[in-house]
Amino acid sequence: MSKEIISTGSSYGINQNTNIVSSFQNIKDNLLKQTSSSYSNLEVSPQTAQIFEQINDLQIEPSLSSFTGETFTRAGKHSINEILFDACANVKILTSAVSMHLNPKLRKNLFDQVDLIHDSEDWDEDDAPVKKLSFQSFLRWLLLASPERGPGLGLTSSGNLIAAWIDNQDRLILEFSPNDIVKWIVTTHIDDEIERGTGRTKILRLPTVLAPYEVDKFFNKKD
């Protein structure tokens, strides 16, 4: 069986100050435990495993709102503003755990967009703010794929984060659910015909699933 190499590439530096107590094998085992058995042929670089471990280890304490990550019930005494502020703060804290692996400009852009999609002036009280576990899936994918061009962010009513790219008329949309599950939509135009693919997979499988659509064009910086 062929081995699929998943690597974050050499551009990621290892944080020398991080206290890594697990051996690489232990980290790899932990990572593989979280994926389905169908991914047992994956190999990861030590850097990738380290980043995944950092994201996995991060725990966020419940704060003002009753938003705990996967459920959203509006607490009577807290305003929508407070709940949205907390949700944004939670994912920014999550991001801070791996901020050393992110381009500062990209990180600022993501934070600005997270605030924008939680604008209280444009908020339906029945909708949920971003789920921590959805954002965690996004972060894991972001660090694996390392796109040069950041996405436009969106949000579903249930709090799943959406990442979108456009290249001329062609579009790529990824919707991140908890536990590394991602819905993907690709639209390409070939000879005035629209070719579209949609599906659902795990983030580690995404490069393989999207390969026929040549999606690198969405991630490359434009001159």
Partner: protein, 147 residues
């Protein structure tokens, strides 16, 4: 009451369901703008443009948005937008995805007289939602552009 095929409906879309690039430019609607929520009771809310019987398409859009703002408390400064789609195109697209019984009906009430619903829309059909977003509701009006 069914809405005539050559008429149009408008859907309110919050900023978080707009297709934007990383620089904030709007390129249309995300498919998730057509996702049914449990509280939607399997009916997608829209507003019937021609209900207002204005002289032009643009005037109908403005009247519909102004009425919608009043009924839903949407501020002029809100970053939301509105997508407009033709009734026949909506039904044809749904049919091409196997949803042959989809219809668009007027369901107006006192507070929102042009309110209408797209009914019998399949749930979780990502391909259909994408077609609606990228091929049918392609006329997108920024809320701030309407006085």
């Amino acid at each position: 009451m069914g809405i005539p095929n050559d008429n149009h409906v408008l859907r309110h879309v919050p900023l978080k369901k707009l297709f934007r690039d990383d620089e904030g430019n709007i390129h249309g609607l995300l498919p998730q703008a057509f996702e049914l929520r449990p509280q939607d009771n399997k009916k997608l809310s829209v507003n019937w443009l021609e209900y207002f019987e204005e002289a032009t398409h643009q005037d109908n859009i403005e009247s519909t948005i102004k009425a919608l703002r009043l009924s839903r408390g949407i501020k002029n400064s809100s970053n939301c937008a509105y997508g407009v789609g033709n009734i026949e195109a909506i039904k044809d697209t749904c049919k091409s995805h196997g949803a042959t019984k989809v219809d668009v009906v007027h369901s107006g009430n006192k507070g929102n007289k042009s309110h209408s619903s797209i009914i019998r829309l399949p749930e979780d059909d990502l391909s259909l939602m994408t077609s609606l977003a990228e091929e049918i509701f392609t006329e997108v009006i920024n809320n701030k552009s309407i006085p």
